[in-house]
Amino acid sequence: MLSLHSYLILSAILFSIGAIGVLIRRNAIVIFMCVELMLNSVNLTFIAFSKYLGNMDGQIFVFFVMTVAAAEAAVGLALMIAFYKNRESIDVEDLNLMKW
Amino acid sequence: MGYDMTGFPFLTILIFLPLATGLCLLPVWNCRPDLWRPVALAGAIAELGVACLCWPAAAAPAKGAPAGFFLFEDYPWIAEFGIRYTLGMDGLSLLLVILTAFVTLIAMLASWRPVIDRVPLHYLLILAMESGIMGVFLSLDLFLFYLFWELMLIPMFFLIGIWGHGRRIYSAIKFFLFTLAGSLLMLLAIITLYLIHGSQTGVYTFSLYGLIGTVVPHSTALWLYGAFLLAFAIKFPLFPLHTWLPDAHTDAPTAGSVILAGLLLKTGAYGLVRFGYPLFPAAAATLSPLLMVMAVTGILYASWIAFAQSDMKRLVAYSSVGHMGFVALGIAAWTPVALSGAILQMVNHGITTSAMFAMIGMLDERTGTREIDAYGNVWGKAPRLSFFFLFFAMASAGLPGLNNFVGEFLILTGSFKVSHLAVALAGIGVILPLVYTVRLIQELLFQEERRPLIIPDLTVTECGMVVVMACLDLYIGLHPGPLLDMLHSPVAILTGGAG
């Protein structure tokens, strides 16, 4: 049986992949996916702890995170569309009108 | 004393009358230009009147006030911090208050003709500054003092920046930042002292006489006093913190220079006498050699630099640094005689240097230049102007019989037993101003004409103004008794504490 540590290490790795992805990728959609990866690794952490501690708080938290992530996705994609309409690109290199 | 003055808020009126007058100018900003100058002038004259009315009050001490104070007001203000609205006037404050009212009036007259644009704002700023300076000289609560101390800066910043000449913006910002940086550290020192006092006694107060006598470890006291000294030394200005002064003076309009030299510099000296020494007597005694060195260096250095100036205003600005060096020397010695001399010298310097700047302003206004090289044979063209110029220049150089001589003499006598060396060196500093002053006079008034400048002589109002100042110079020079009497009790109280 997998121990708590395995879950924690997995989620830490996922979180790091997500964070590094945000920093090095150039496509706004991919960056956003990396953010989602970070959020989901957090969800994994919560669930692992919840199971380990026998405490439901973590699972409730996960539901909230998922809901919020969905709302964020809606707004984020809308912003990307607005940007795309004006600039015909979603490359963050093109987010350059002001000093980045 | 023929009338009862207790309960009448003279001090509050002294502080807020100028500001209120200034604000009266706002509604007539866009109309009635004929009202601007008279209203402002009336305010300044009324202020001088109120200040003079305080003189007779000195006969009887105020009830509930610290020793030596004859007018006193005390109300709670920000109770959460133990901040009170405490004002007090003793002989020291009285002299400086009268000086403030007088010099402001001179500044206003000096800008009567040269300032033609944005006149109401100009007078509003002068009056606002007068309020700030009055507040500094009257506050007995450190927070209140700090508040007025900062408030003085703002009008001067605008005066230099809007009506100045040359690199006015640079000078205005330099002036503001220099003085602000020093005073912010003083604020921290004030807060620290407040907290130390509060943790020792459980009474959190910013009142000066509440905080005097707080037991502060000597090393901490040195830091705190150092912060006060820094703020005051910048204002003074003492060598090597004086660099803002020549710039500010040169680029300021006449009224700005007059107030700067006549009044703002005095606030530094006053702060040291009223707050620095009484709050930290031991630390002040430890650091007084440092103050003395700064003072003497300043005296010698300023005279030397003044000699090399080609701009009259710069020359007088450096001579101010020298004169204030004498004041610092007198304070550093902290003996009754030297301290009386220092305070008297503050008043003298206020009158004489304002007069010098006013005269230079008149010349500048007539010819458009302040270069000494441009002038020559002014005596032949404008004898009255030249006479008074000569008079004030000689007063400033310390000619016996005129006011500065008395002050310098007292300072040197009083400091002699404290430090022979400092007095000997400063003695040279008495001679040096004569050298550059004689050069200035000679080149300006008697040299052959170098440029065909048209210099009309003094008008009647200008004449009136300078005659009053000359009379004051002469009076203090020949008969300083009443002023020294007025200073006797505060100086005795101040130096008594320091041993």
């Binding site: 924690l8 979180f15 997500g18 945000v22 706004a28 956003f32 953010v35 970070m38 959020l39 690794s41 957090v42 952490t45 919560f46 692992a48 380990y52 501690l53 405490n55 708080d57 973590g58 409730i60 938290f61 909230f64 995170v65 709302a71 964020e72 707004v75 984020g76 912003l79 990307m80 607005a82 940007f83 004006n86 600039r87 002001m98 980045w100 | 203000w77 920000i78 959460e80 944005r118 700090y146 900062e150 408030l151 703002i154 910043f157 605008f158 920046g161 809007i162 205005a172 910002i173 503001f176 930042l177 940086a181 912010l184 550290l185 604020l187 921290l188 807060i191 620290t192 407040y194 907290l195």
Partner: protein, 491 residues
């Protein structure tokens, strides 16, 4: 277990207790109603939404005032409406009120007069209020997200304008990124203490001292600090601020620089002071560094800005630094200083932005400092207002900004952080330079423009009036407000 932390006088600790979230409920209902109304009115009538939302804010404000002094807890101790949160709620409502006053004129000028902006501002305010009264990491997170999601839209609200698009997108990407850190920190804290309730975390730690050496708890604290630092724009997590502030519609910049920052501080304070007092030695060291970095980076970078919105963005970073000084002190004076400062900052900063809104015109925002040449004499009253705001930001008496800084630095000295206070005042002295520069242009340079397009709408005039009053009255007679702030601290 939860009962242990709350004094008995707090009403109805468990279960549903609407009294504890009354302001949030009122404001949400009004916002949703406005969203509906918006569908049925034409574009000329959008200003009415603004008026209605102002009324809504006033009503909510009354509910906030009536809750003062009577702490209410509810929903299984996940919200606590105490004086602390009420003071912050007041600050949020003030900032929303002032922002809405300057919004209408801007929207009409920029031709993006869509009514959704008002409900969005209200939703953002609800989010902030939840953050301030959240006593459960979950509530704090939810409040933060309600706030953030609304703000992403507000930043990119002018959808035809590329700069605004860019600001919205950048804010979104970095905001979501920082939320990840915050959440991960929350997860680790939950894992090491077994609860998400703020007070329960503290009692768990005090009962199980060895947990303090658990790297997971330390990592959780650090990650949360990073997340909050993003939200309050503390250096080195401030990179998004200048771009977002510059690109967002000006009224929204004003709003973002005040409300969300205050909300960030509210949650930051609540979590660190209530949940992690046992780690105070660690986090105050961390905050010390953050405060110094934030003040210095903000001020130094602001010195060389020529765009006034960018300059105020860096200045707002620096102000977060001053507030962090009070937070670092962590004592009663410092914490009350944070409360007092955020409220005064709302007045002075939104006031300054109101002037910026005025000076701009369609297609030409006039955001360079040099565009203000001669402004002070062309419009003396507006110039004087701007000077008052700038002097207050610079911390010159008798403005509220001075009293606030005085308060914060007193707290730091009292807690023994003398060097921090010295660095703070030196920074404050340096900051004066860039505020003065605006005034130099306003008063000491010859005008290049006539500024004849300036039209002050009544609502904008009201905003200026309120802001000037809010800067000067607490500056001259701060007694009442200081008293309220002292009653609102967490200790």
């Amino acid at each position: 277990m939860d009962m242990l932390q709350f004094p008995a006088n707090i009403a109805a600790a468990a279960g549903v207790n609407f009294a504890a979230i009354m302001p949030e409920v009122i404001l949400s209902v009004i916002a949703m109603a406005l969203l509906l109304v918006n569908v049925f009115i034409n574009s000329e009538q959008k200003a009415y939404l603004g008026y209605l939302s102002l009324i809504g804010i006033v009503v909510t404000f009354f509910s906030v005032v009536s809750g003062w002094g009577a702490p209410q807890s509810g929903f299984n101790n996940s919200v606590l409406q105490d004086n602390f949160s009420l003071f912050f709620k007041g600050t949020f409502l003030v900032s929303a009120f002032l922002t809405i006053l300057i919004t209408d004129q801007y929207l009409k000028r920029e031709e993006c007069n869509w009514g959704e902006i008002y409900p969005l501002i209200l939703f953002a305010t609800v989010g902030m209020m939840l953050m301030a009264s959240g006593t459960d990491l979950m509530t704090i997170f939810l409040g933060l997200e309600v706030l953030s999601v609304s703000l992403y839209v507000l930043a990119g609200f002018n959808r035809a304008n590329l700069k605004s698009n860019e600001a919205g997108l950048k804010y979104f990407l970095l905001g979501a990124f920082s939320t990840g850190f915050l959440l991960y920190g929350m997860a680790l804290i939950y894992g090491s203490t077994g609860t998400t309730r703020v007070a329960a975390i503290a009692s768990y730690i005090s009962q199980n001292g060895m947990v303090l050496s658990n790297p997971m708890l330390v990592a959780g604290m650090l990650l949360m600090a990073v997340g909050f630092s993003f939200k309050i724009a503390a250096a080195p997590f401030h990179m998004w601020t200048p771009d977002v502030y510059e690109g967002a519609p000006t009224p929204m910049t004003a709003f973002m620089s005040v409300g969300p920052k205050a909300a960030g501080f509210a949650a930051f304070l609540r979590v660190f002071i209530v949940a992690l007092p046992a780690m105070k030695a660690d986090w105050s060291e961390l905050l010390w560094v953050l405060a110094v970095l934030t003040m210095t980076v903000g001020n130094i970078t602001a010195l060389k800005q020529t765009n006034i919105k960018r300059m105020l963005a860096y200045s707002s970073i620096a102000h977060a630094g001053y507030v962090l000084v009070g937070f670092t002190a962590g004592n009663a004076v410092g914490t009350a200083g944070v409360l007092f400062y955020m409220l005064s900052y709302a007045f002075m900063n939104i006031g300054a932005f109101a002037i910026i809104v005025l000076v701009g015109r369609k297609g030409e925002e006039n955001n360079n400092v040099s565009d203000y040449a001669g402004f002070g004499f062309k419009h003396p009253v507006l110039g004087m207002c701007m000077s008052i705001f700038l002097f207050s930001l610079a911390g010159i008496p008798p403005a509220a900004g001075f009293i606030g800084k005085f308060y914060l630095f007193s707290g730091a000295i009292q807690a023994g952080y003398v060097w921090l206070a010295i660095i703070g005042v030196l920074n404050s002295a340096a900051s004066v330079y860039y505020y003065l520069r605006v005034m130099v242009f306003m008063y000491m340079k010859d005008p290049t423009e006539e500024f004849d397009w300036l039209a002050v709408s009544p609502s904008l005039a009201l905003c200026l009036l309120l802001s000037v009053a809010g800067v000067l009255i607490p500056g001259i007679v701060p007694g009442t407000l200081l008293d309220l702030a002292q009653k609102a601290i967490l200790m």
